[in-house]
Symmetry: C2
DNA sequence: CCATTTCTGATGTACGTAAATCAGATTTTT
DNA sequence: AAAAATCTGATTTACGTACATCAGAAATGG
């Protein structure tokens, strides 16, 4: 049987109340007594029964998710996953609330974070916009003792406890190698469609992509990045234009969201030429395009995993427990026609 | 606040004891009363607090993992993950025990399963060997009301509640497409190294691989399968031999374990020719080979995820709860040089 | 050395559920 | 109509922990 607080008390030769004071870091225990108890805890290998503890506390973890009000499939998917978590929340003793902030607006995000300092939730998850004021606001929350995790997009240099998202440099590198290998030894141009170079994940993906292209596939040259602002119509126009003007294009890497316009443009041009295309994010549109051959591979991050992982980590931090690192590593999914979920 | 049993009792106009009888399917409740209580439960949306229930029951889930005594990296890894789960088990109110059975021995496996019928653990996880007697033994356990999940290798036609493993046909198909695309339009022979065609996962991988090869890459022809029994030395010998005899070989698919021998053989031959190689299972050896270019891609199943998923599912079944399907889908990892964990 | 402060023990209640017991109320059987 | 069987209610204890209260012990200050 698992040791309980009673066993510690007996082992340390103190009363239950003292053990409780030590365990919950309450005052009123002499230093030597405290050490005696701590030794006993270690020796008999006591681990607090979190379920019983939470029951006694009547605790519910109140978490806040801050998500950008972006109108693209990925953010919709992320939102849906947060909502699914909200639906499950009563069972898991969590009380999850979402806060929407304008996309790519550091000031608004920082303000939202500062509001939470007074609310003191048990944890905060946010899709970070990479800016100094956001970093500072996050650090203030952390200083206040509130667990903070970033989701999808990280915040380098901040004190956030955890990042639940993929390694975007690795994603870009992987895209480059896939594209390069799929193109065999062919020489030509590669078009890159991004949302905006102001967003950290997009910058990182491009960085990784360009690095591998330069190192390993000198026959392929990257054209100036097309910024489609994650907008289908804009992407359609820009990509159509590029394909018309440059017939040296043999490959496309779409590292942002809003692939609907890209796919439309590709289909229009596909009659006269064969292109190898790698895109990010599995949505209904990209899935269909992968199956009909318009896209050759999709790199994906599973929003559901990211949300669940963020919650697990926040819970663990709130309870002062450790997490299973391997379980919380968000993987880069590579989908071909054959391994779609 | 979440409704409790007291709220149901009040709402249904019955006592706590009656509610308890209904909730735990104990006898002694008239049909009409039972329905009254059940209506109240639905109406106020009561969900049992599993943590409190397990605390009251003093319950610990006793699970049994049946793993084959195979001496290869993958099974060692799987074992390590089970051991890690055992180490965490006190915290999670689980008591996990492992049973080793000889590999590929249906009779021994069936016997081990039947032994468990008398023990009545709260759940059983097994790496299945695909044979009728195993299927029957599993069905007997299920009939006895014991949750059963298969791990890594499934058991078709059985009543097992869940399979925590990858879709091996999809894995084979994915390998074929990767290999085909990496080889560009080249024509030539493809060697396939398997452990044994008696193992279901290997058969399925080959099936998927052959299907896509036939459909999409008519220029590539698959040579007769080399069965290396997952043994490094045997694999080394057979692969060396094949590479010497057939210089039309331009691609290799290793769908089994024991890649050490394969890698050695490839390195010996790599001086005179370039081969494109896809292998299964990420181990120290395959990782090194991927990084140095001997292998071009690795398909992997994460043993840690499989074990944790199996435990989660068993727990949910034991508690009569539902699982989050998306979370329990074991994904096929595709690793290139750039996205190694 | 007494008064005060700080520490420790003993005890009880609570969290939400499980499970047992016993008394009383129904229904069914004889 | 009485006896037996079945159902229902009330109450209690327990699970492991948190937290509060109060009394008494030990240490500290003056």
């Amino acid at each position: 049987m698992r040791p309980t607080v009673h066993d510690i008390a007996a082992a340390a030769g103190v009363s239950l109340a003292t053990v409780d004071r030590v365990l919950n870091q309450r005052p009123g225990v002499r230093h030597v007594t405290r050490e005696k108890v701590e030794t006993a805890i270690r020796e008999i290998g006591y681990v607090r029964d979190v379920a019983a503890a939470n029951l006694a506390k009547g605790r519910t973890y109140s978490f806040v998710f801050i998500v950008p009000a972006s109108d693209n499939s990925f953010m919709h998917g992320l939102n849906a996953e947060v909502m699914a978590a909200v639906a499950r929340s009563p069972v898991e003793r969590t009380d999850i609330r979402t806060v929407e902030v304008p996309a790519f607006d550091p000031t608004a995000l920082a303000a939202a974070l500062d509001t939470l300092r007074t609310e003191r939730p048990a944890g905060v998850a946010l899709v970070a916009t990479d800016a100094p004021e956001v970093r500072d606001a996050v650090d203030r929350l952390v200083q206040d003792g509130i667990p903070v995790v970033t989701v999808v997009s990280d915040l380098t240099g901040s004190q956030r406890h955890h990042y639940a998202g993929v390694d975007n440099i690795a994603a870009g590198r992987t895209a480059a190698r896939l594209l390069g290998r799929f193109l065999g030894g062919a020489k030509g141009d590669v078009a890159v469609l991004a949302g905006s170079m102001l967003v950290r994940d997009h910058r990182e993906r491009l960085e990784g992509f360009a690095a591998v292209m330069a190192e390993e596939f000198p026959g392929l040259s990257i054209l100036p990045v097309i910024e489609g602002r994650d907008d289908p119509d804009m992407a359609h126009m820009l990509v159509s234009d590029a394909l018309s003007k440059r017939d040296g294009i043999i490959g496309v890497y779409s590292l942002g969201a809003g692939n609907r316009g890209l796919i439309r443009a590709l289909k229009e041009k596909s009659v006269d030429r064969a292109l190898t295309v790698i895109a990010h994010e599995l949505t209904d549109h990209t899935r269909t395009a992968l199956l009909d051959g318009t896209i050759d591979a999709i790199l994906n991050q599973d929003a559901g995993h990211e949300v669940r992982s963020a919650i697990r980590v926040l819970k663990a931090k709130a309870d002062g427990l450790s997490v299973i690192d391997a379980q919380e590593r968000i993987r880069l999914d590579i989908f071909l026609k054959d391994n779609l979920p």
